[in-house]
């Protein structure tokens, strides 16, 4: 009997029953391969890796249940209808029956992806977790050239632009941006979104609870008479926006696949935006002023709309009915038209919203919100406007730019910083600082207003470092990171003595406050001292290590020639030897797989070390060449 013999009437079992190949799946669904792809993309079905590949190694396997899941989805029927509809249109076109073509085109069967989205992401957090690719793609397509005769229609590109701006406006409004990074590939942004899940809702009386939010934490709050289980889930969402330049369209990509993805992502982002806007009480598709939109000041417009609306909505929330909508709309439009002429209003709006929402923010958001507070930025023509608009306003600054529709002019005396990216600046206002765009990004990453000397016009700015790298974990800290660390430490020291200046000894209340403050201060000082001690110790250790290494380095070349040098660090080498020996002995009894794993770990750590060594060697060489250059 052959090995794989299955008696007639007996069902398939195991991997043979669980997984089917792609061609089998296509046959089962009775669709063509492109449609199968589309279905997989929309339904989020991906191949699986069976333990035993029954049909061979070169096949792609899908889970049988996945395919059954696709098969029972109404979207399959809709797609089939679309196909027959396309045939009808084609026939009508070939018969030159224009009327019919028109009529048919108006009646194209459509599907909506709401249900699919909800199916794939049952909770809002899940959707946020998968948003990275979505945002990257939508932002990329928003930056594509609107070419005619291409598969990507102008309408879709505009939709992408709109969605991306809506998303950014929300981030600006809620000050959720945490990190950003200008890379060669584009500008990376990272936001931290918290979603509060309240399960077991039996709230009789709601207390005001201040939650300190931290990522990935779960809180259970137990009140008397009420039990509210709240889960706070933080999601880090990172996306890339391409540089605002003409994008290169390549031929070697399959636009059908990309557009299918885009279709889903557009729907997903629209829903996510809808939910987010709902959470800050703003009506979702925001109605915008076409004049400003034409000036390509979308983001500014949107963010203003959002912040304004959410500020105003507290009052309007109760009577937000259909009747009021239209009047509200006209009101909003009126305000939009009014505001650009007078710069003060925007500030008022910002302040107003800040006052309203101060209490329900966590510490980090507060810190982010106030980073650029009381600063006014002006962007020159050559500066990427959208990116800076987004970043500065997300961190609480006020921005204007050169062009129509700008909230304030270049000649405004209250401007504190002007962002310039040109070799030299002709006319300079003495009241403001002229900086390169990188300053803004570095400030944001460091959460600190950096000194502007390095970023002046025409200078080569200091290296721009990635905020996504954990320098300590990697084991190599670039110089500029050290410098920023020092600056931060210095800033902390500076900030603390400030309360002492304003205290009045006569005022009893102040004395009390001072007492509290001093206690806190003392605690902080103690902590600082400990930290300093630690740092000092670390420094000494490092120094020692350095010395040793130098000793080693000096002895290394002599090892071959002179024998007795060994004697100086004989103890050291002996200890090394014994350590190595005990390692070897440990390995002796390991099973083969564990030994392999250990070897892999060792190889990986060695690779890492090598990389760091390369960096250090380059740095040394640069220093040497720089030193010799100076001489």
């Amino acid at each position: 009997m052959p090995k794989h013999y299955r008696p007639a009437g007996k069902k398939k079992e195991g991997n043979a029953a669980k997984y089917i190949t792609r061609s089998q799946a296509v046959k089962q669904l009775q669709v063509s391969l492109p449609i199968f792809r589309k279905l997989c993309i929309l339904k989020g079905v991906f191949p699986r890796e069976p333990k035993k590949k029954v049909k061979g190694n070169h096949q792609t396997y899908y889970h049988t249940k996945d395919i059954a899941f696709v098969q029972h989805d109404p979207i399959l029927e809709k797609i089939r209808q679309q196909r027959t509809h396309e045939k009808k249109v084609k026939k009508a076109v070939s018969k030159k029956n224009k009327d019919r073509v028109q009529r048919l085109k108006a009646r194209k069967p459509k599907y909506i992806l709401d249900r699919l989205i909800l199916e794939r992401y049952p909770r809002f957090v899940d959707a946020l977790g998968d948003l990275d690719d979505c945002l990257t793609m939508v932002h990329l397509f928003a930056a594509l050239p609107t070419l005619q005769n291409e598969k990507v229609t102008v309408k879709r590109i505009q939709n992408c632009r709109r969605l991306s701006h809506e998303w950014q406006a929300y981030i600006v409004r809620t000050h959720k941006l945490r990190k950003n990074f200008i890379s060669v590939k584009g500008i990376y942004y990272q936001v931290l979104c918290f979603v509060l899940h309240i399960s077991n809702v039996k709230v009789f009386s709601i207390f005001h609870v201040h939650l300190r939010l931290c990522p990935e934490c779960i809180w259970t709050l137990s009140f008397s008479e009420t039990r509210v289980q709240a889960e706070v889930e933080g999601q880090k969402i990172t996306w890339v926006t391409p540089h605002a330049l003409q994008q290169v369209l390549t031929d070697d990509v399959d636009f059908n696949v990309m557009l299918t993805f885009l279709e889903f992502y557009e729907a997903l982002l629209a829903h996510v935006n809808n939910n987010l806007y709902h959470s800050i009480n703003v009506k979702y598709p925001p109605i915008l002023d076409p004049r400003l939109e034409a000036l390509a000041a979308d983001l500014y417009l949107l963010s203003r709309f959002v912040s304004h609306k959410s500020g105003a909505s507290n009052m309007l929330l109760q009577d937000q009915t259909g009747q009021l909508d239209e009047s509200q709309l006209t009101l909003a439009q009126l305000q939009h038209q009014l505001i650009p002429s007078e710069p003060g209003t925007l500030m008022q709006l910002v302040e107003e919203t800040e006052v309203n929402n101060d209490d329900d923010d966590d510490d980090e958001t507060k810190e982010c919100k106030s980073l650029f507070r009381n600063m006014k930025f002006f962007l020159s023509r050559e500066v990427p406007r959208e990116a800076l608009l987004f970043v500065i306003s997300a961190f609480g600054g006020m921005v204007s730019w050169e062009g129509d529709g700008a909230p304030f002019d270049e000649t405004d005396q209250s401007i504190t910083h002007q962002v310039v990216d040109r070799p030299s600046q002709g006319h300079m206002f003495l009241s403001r600082e002229y900086i390169q765009p990188q300053w803004v990004f570095d400030c944001v990453n460091a959460r600190l207003i950096l000194p502007t000397e390095d970023y002046l016009v025409g200078k080569i700015p200091p290296p721009h470092l990635s905020p996504f790298v954990d320098n300590e974990a990697v084991g190599y800290i670039p110089d500029y990171a050290e410098k920023i660390k020092q600056l931060k430490a210095a800033a902390r020291r500076q900030v603390i003595p400030v309360p002492d200046v304003g205290t009045d000894v006569n005022d009893t209340q102040n004395v009390l406050l001072e007492g509290v403050a001093s206690r806190v201060e003392a605690k902080e000082a103690a902590e600082r001292k400990q930290e300093m001690l630690l740092l000092e110790k670390q420094y000494h250790d490092e120094l020692k290590m350095e010395l040793q290494r130098i000793g080693n380095a000096s002895s290394a070349p002599q090892l071959g020639s002179v024998g007795h040098v060994e004697a100086t660090d004989d103890g050291q080498s002996k200890r090394d030897q014994t350590a190595r020996d005990s390692d070897e002995l440990d390995k002796l009894l390991m099973s083969r797989s564990k030994r392999g794993l250990l070897n892999a770990i060792e190889i990986r750590s060695k690779q890492k070390n090598d990389e760091i060594e390369v960096l250090k060697a380059r740095k040394r060489r640069n220093l040497e060449s720089g030193g010799s250059g100076k001489d």
Binding site: Y121, V201, Y480, R618
Partner: protein, 616 residues
């Protein structure tokens, strides 16, 4: 199915039809009950009424047997059918049967009818190519219909009044609040468990538009990338732009996005646990080494005197002396405690191996030199013992001369037996000193013999070829007791546990196999020592649970090897110590190791002409 049956059935069913059918040739039915099912009269005496109103009596039916007999007699019986309605027997004529057959076939009942007769147009006239009426179309065909006009007017009015809307502005489907109330949803997706895709890698410092200078490779390094394999080559080469305005558009943006999409829908996704193991946790827990003491730890005494590599050492059973043979052609006997060389024999040819007699009464040495095996009297021991040795050896000399043609390689004492095997002739000889008699053992060896050993307590003999170890019983007709399959590439040495049930085998690939003979014929444990070179020798301690291996990389490993008397408990093997100290000469390291018979001490003989003693 017989035609009779069909006909009778047919007849029954079509009764009413036949009745209504008023054909001339049919006789009028006698029965006049009308369209009444015949089963109403099932229990009656009569079957119906005549035209005059008289009852028609049921005829006496023949029983089946009679009918059958009648049909056998009567040749026309098959034509006869019973007309139930009239209760009479009818005989079908030939024509009728023909007709029935035609009907059954689906043809017309009468054969003379031609169903496909050519059509004859009865109306034939000359101008039949012209239309019947040549009148012109009426006017109404050309003017719009009044009623249609009225309907259109109605629609137009409706459109004007806004009751009908054309070109409706397309409504964007309103977005519903999908996750409006999360408390309702169970949080479980339908279908299989969702495996989220891995997030894209976040950029490091080197991807910055303005990275630190140390992240930018030099031109030489970039050129060297060309020499690397395609897969190893870095995909991204950092570059430095001095200002933001000089950064160009990223060429591969679309391509990378596409590749990511492909990954998302084409790559099999598997939930894999990220292996974030502490390398320390992988290492097996060794028992506390302090508990396993004593074992040799450090070198205490060096025995210097040889001028060339020491190939072999052997300890005397009392532990007071050791003998060593070297390639400089000398055999030396040393006092263990003082490292004093007691005696030197200069044989002149490189010594292969030396061995003490395990019996303490006869302190004699056997030495294997190129083609000879020599027996040396050490001159130790009491006078009585010396006398005995002299007697023994006196007789011996003649026999040994006979052996000179053979190439002895390795041998062992057991009592006063001496075995040695001969490499080239694949023969194993056993020599009995007392009888001055050599005999060859009739084993068939599968491959060249490498080394041999005696069982410490029973009359078993172990012989190792390159691949396997064979165990023979010397008493019972030299029968093969066991074959140990090592799975090693090339065996170099074996040692037998003093208990006799465990064997260790060292190999030239640096592997050490522990066999439990009671357990199975494959290794109980295979230790991959970090000897990069051959293991030259392995040794068991006679009383302590220790064993050692030494190799050509100048190291000796000491292991704890505890064998339990309880058969259910596996031997415990713990690596204890790596002993170093020898230096290599001519790519050879430690050539031999032996344990002190009483103390947990290890002697090693190195190629650097030194013998070392490692003590606890």
């Amino acid at each position: 199915m017989s035609p009779e049956k069909i006909i009778s059935d047919d007849d029954d069913d079509n009764h009413s039809v036949e009745e209504s059918d008023s054909s001339e040739d049919e006789v009028a039915p006698r029965n006049t009950i009308g369209d009444v099912p015949l089963e109403f009269y099932k229990d009656e005496e009569h079957i119906g009424y005549e035209i005059t109103g008289k009852k028609i009596k049921k005829k006496e039916r023949e029983d089946q047997l009679a009918r059958y007999l009648a049909s056998a007699d009567d040749k026309k019986a098959w034509r006869k059918i019973i007309d139930e309605y009239n209760d009479e027997e009818v005989e079908l004529t030939k024509d009728e049967i023909k007709m029935i057959r035609r009907i059954l076939k689906g043809k017309t009942p009468h054969a003379e009818v031609d169903p496909y007769a050519p059509y004859v147009d009865w109306f034939d006239w000359e101008d039949k190519i012209h239309p019947l009426s040549n009148a012109p179309d009426p006017k109404r065909r050309f003017i719009p219909s009044k009623w249609e006009g009225k309907k259109i007017l109605k629609l137009v009015r409706a459109i004007r009044e806004g009751r009908i809307q054309l070109d409706k502005p397309k409504e964007e489907p309103k977005l519903s609040l999908l996750w409006g109330d999360d408390s309702g949803s169970s949080g479980k997706s339908r279908g299989l468990a969702y495996i989220p895709p891995p997030k894209p890698k976040l950029p490091g410092h080197e991807e910055s538009y303005n990275p630190s200078l140390e992240y930018i490779p030099t031109q030489e390094e970039i050129n060297s990338y060309q020499l690397m394999y395609e897969e190893d080559r870095p995909k991204f080469i950092p570059r430095r732009y001095t200002s933001l305005r000089s950064v160009p558009a990223y060429v591969n943006a679309l391509k990378e996005c596409f590749n990511r999409n492909l990954d998302l829908y084409l790559c099999p996704r598997v939930r894999k646990k990220r292996i974030n193991v502490d390398p320390e946790s992988l290492k097996p827990k060794r028992p506390n080494l302090k508990d396993l003491k004593p074992y040799p730890v450090a070198c205490y005494i060096e025995y210097k005197g040889h001028n060339d590599a020491v190939t072999s050492i052997s300890t005397e059973s009392s532990g007071q002396w050791i003998a060593s043979g070297s390639t400089d052609g000398t055999v030396r006997v040393w006092e263990v405690a003082t490292s004093r060389c007691i005696r030197v024999w200069d044989i002149g040819v490189a010594i292969r191996q030396v061995a003490w007699n395990p019996l303490p009464q006869l302190p004699i040495l056997a030495v294997s030199v190129a083609h000879n095996v020599l027996i040396l009297d050490t001159g130790l021991g009491s006078e009585e013992e010396q006398q005995r040795i002299k007697e023994l050896l006196l007789l011996e000399k003649a026999t040994l001369a006979d052996q000179s043609a053979c190439s002895g390689c390795c041998f062992l004492f057991f009592c006063i037996f001496l075995t040695f095997f001969l490499r080239e002739s694949r023969a194993i000889l056993v020599h009995q000193l007392s009888k001055k008699f050599s005999q060859s053992l009739p084993f068939k060896l599968h491959g060249l013999p490498v080394c041999s050993a005696f069982h410490p307590s029973r009359s078993f003999f172990f012989i190792a070829t390159k691949k396997e170890v064979r165990v023979y019983n010397l008493q019972k007709k030299q029968a093969l007791v066991k074959k140990l399959e090592t799975g090693l590439r090339e065996i170099s040495c074996i040692a037998i546990h003093p208990g006799g049930d465990n064997v260790i085998v060292g190999s030239k690939e640096g592997k050490l196999c522990w066999f439990d003979m009671d357990l199975r014929s494959t290794p109980y444990k295979s230790l991959k020592c970090h000897h990069p070179k051959d293991i030259t020798s392995v040794a068991f301690h006679r009383s302590y649970p220790l064993f050692a291996s030494c190799s050509e990389d100048n190291t000796a490993y000491v292991f704890h090897g505890m064998v339990y008397s309880d058969l259910n408990q596996d031997p415990l093997i713990v690596p204890l110590q790596v002993l170093r100290g020898h230096s290599s000469l001519k790519a050879k390291g430690v050539l031999d190791c032996k344990f002190h018979p009483r103390q947990p001490w290890l002697f090693t003989a190195g190629a650097d002409s030194i013998i070392k003693l490692y003590c606890h």
